[in-house]
């Protein structure tokens, strides 16, 4: 029987995910103001971007802080949907999310299970490899990876977008924490019942860490969604561009030099595209935030 009294210095059981009833002291006014100011600081720039996407393109450049509602227009969105392959962007991001996310969600906890619950020769060496992956800056590997993709014939393919870094090292790290907290008795009991090792993973571990997995899922989704450096390098055509690549293609008319006559239009399109790109992730997070928090709870680094 496990302890029900939660001592601060020990690991909490993975199943203790229900909120404990406790008295919540009310916040002082100062704290409220502080939080509200932060809230404003975090939301205001994004609100600016979304509102600006409804302005006339020239107004966005000329008068960035003026919002004359009477001149609001859907023009930027229309030209954006016409000119910008945002559908492709969503499609490709979606495909990469599902496949790469799926690979991480399946294989990362599996590897983590090995690190958490087994002793084997080379364990530290291989875990060292996990850490190295975490520490490797992406930008460092661009050219060699690119040439490797060429040698494999994978330039401009989905494999190239998905496979490098498909099993996120951070995911392994985190899941290891979570799985460590699963009581060994559960595994031993399953073994006595004749379960295979993989069977233990599938039938014992996964259900127990489901909240942690949900958290991992949300985090993985956000990271893949935001992935910028490698997709920009490897996806050289519209066909294969993810959302971030599509947006950065738009932006290159603006950043750095403003050469070219049409950067007002492009700025408008960029803001419209960004607003549209922002929404699915936001909705996802709003809907899943309970899972996310519970998931992190289940796998938190204990203090």
């Amino acid at each position: 029987m496990t302890d029900t009294l939660v001592r601060p210095a020990t690991a909490a059981s993975a199943s203790a995910a229900e909120p404990r009833p406790r008295r919540k002291p009310s916040l002082r006014l100062g704290s409220h103001v502080f939080l509200l100011l932060l809230l404003l600081a975090f939301l205001a720039p994004v609100a600016w971007a979304i509102l600006s996407s409804f302005k006339q393109p020239n107004d966005i450049i000329r008068d960035p802080l003026g919002f004359d509602v009477s001149t609001f227009t859907l023009q930027n969105f229309l030209t954006m949907f016409q000119d910008v392959p945002i559908g492709n962007g969503f499609l490709n991001t979606g495909i990469v999310l599902v496949l790469k996310g799926g690979i991480t969600l399946f294989f990362a906890p599996l590897a983590a299970f090995a690190f958490a619950k087994y002793e084997f020769l080379g364990k530290n060496l291989i875990f060292g490899a996990v850490l190295i992956t975490l520490m490797l800056p992406t930008v460092v590997l661009i050219i060699p990876l690119l040439l490797e993709m060429k040698a494999l014939g994978w330039v401009n393919t989905y494999q190239a977008l998905i496979l490098p870094g498909a099993i996120d090292a951070f995911a392994i790290f985190w899941m290891r924490q979570v799985i460590s907290a699963v009581p060994d008795e559960l595994l031993d009991a399953a073994r006595v019942d004749g379960a295979s090792e993989f069977g233990i993973y599938w039938r014992v571990i996964l259900p127990v860490i489901r909240p942690g997995l949900a958290g991992l899922a949300v985090l993985t989704i956000m990271n893949i969604y935001n992935d910028f450096v490698w997709p920009v390098v490897i996806a050289s055509s519209d066909r294969m561009s993810t959302l971030q690549v599509v947006l950065s293609t738009l932006a290159q008319n603006i950043t750095g030099n403003r050469i070219g006559a049409d950067y007002a239009t492009v700025t408008g399109e960029l803001l419209a595209a960004s607003s549209v790109a922002l929404i699915p992730l936001l909705v996802l997070f709003i809907v899943l935030q309970r899972h996310f928090i519970n998931g992190i709870l289940a796998g938190s680094v204990k203090g």
Partner: protein, 305 residues
């Protein structure tokens, strides 16, 4: 059977059928195999190739001439190389301490807020994290314009002079740091929140009864118990800051006067100029540096245990 009896039964190797034992011995290797395969194929192989490239002067076409340590010598003697490392270090100083303090405060406050509002805050704090970087770059350029940006307008209201946020080398780093803080703090807050929620409330109640103030509770109970989570966040963000590339790439293009040329961005410059041999040497040096940093942090973390 009691727990200990179960355990001793399971650990008696002789009683186990050998097939199950073999499965058990080989299982971990099979489980980590996918990761190892990907690691070897897409991390090790390119890294080794980078090493090889770093000893040549390849420019993207034609043959690659062997130049020995020339690229490394050039980099280590180059002011701009050390400057880029310095830039990353300064950015670290501007970002990580502030972020930790801010995040802890916010997490603690959010933890005690009423439930309904807490949800709204959580969503709000994550919004910067999911906003596309190129949009954020545009926003920053407009908001921080020296004469007509909102930030200087606000400063003007309280009587402070205009600051050249993105146009002077003094202020470009803080402005970039601010962007990074804005974008990632929400995520760190959530990580800390989770750590907080596993702290037993009874400790606070006991301290309350003893007459300890909120601040004292924060310092003596919360922070020590959160220490692991905090260190975890510090390591995470340290890695992120030293690898930082996308932000200077999109917002400042490394300027003004290379003040925001981070280690990662400086490396990228070699690549865009076609100087791939030097870029490879730079990559290697950067990898070694980042690894050394991470390992020392890890050691620090274990030393404090």
């Amino acid at each position: 059977m009691t727990t200990s009896a179960l355990r001793s039964a399971a650990s008696q190797h002789v009683r186990r059928p050998s097939a199950a034992r073999l499965r058990r011995r080989s299982a971990p290797y099979l489980f980590v195999l996918p990761f190892v395969a990907i690691f070897l194929a897409f991390s090790v192989y390119p890294l080794v190739f980078t090493a090889r490239l770093s000893f040549t002067n390849w420019h993207g076409s034609g043959a690659a001439e062997w130049v020995g340590w020339d690229n490394y010598a050039y980099l280590l003697a180059n002011e701009a190389f050390w400057g880029s490392l310095g830039n990353s270090a300064i950015l670290w100083l501007l970002i990580v301490p502030v972020q930790v303090v801010l995040s802890v405060l916010v997490a603690v406050l959010l933890n005690s807020a009423k439930l309904r509002l807490r949800g709204l805050y959580r969503v709000a704090f994550i919004v910067p994290f999911v906003t596309p970087l190129v949009a954020v770059a545009q926003i920053w350029v407009v908001l921080f314009d020296q004469q007509y940006g909102a930030i200087n307008a606000i400063l003007g209201i309280v009587g402070l002079p205009d600051i050249g946020w993105l146009t002077t080398s003094t202020w470009s780093k803080p402005t970039l740091a601010l962007l990074f803080l804005w974008k990632t703090t929400g995520f760190i807050v959530i990580i800390l929140l989770s750590g907080l929620q596993s702290i037993d409330q009874s400790m606070y109640e006991a301290a309350e009864l003893d007459g300890a103030s909120k601040l004292r509770q924060l310092w003596s109970i919360t922070v020590p118990l959160l220490r692991r989570t905090i260190m975890f966040a510090v390591v995470l963000q340290t890695l992120a800051v030293f690898q930082m590339f996308a932000e200077p790439f999109v917002v400042t293009q490394g300027g003004p006067y290379n003040s925001t040329t981070t280690a990662g961005y400086y490396l990228y410059n070699h690549i865009t100029r076609g100087d791939l041999g030097t870029g490879a040497a730079n990559s290697f040096l950067l990898v070694i540096l980042v690894m050394a940093l991470s390992l020392s942090f890890v050691r620090l973390l274990r030393a404090k245990d």
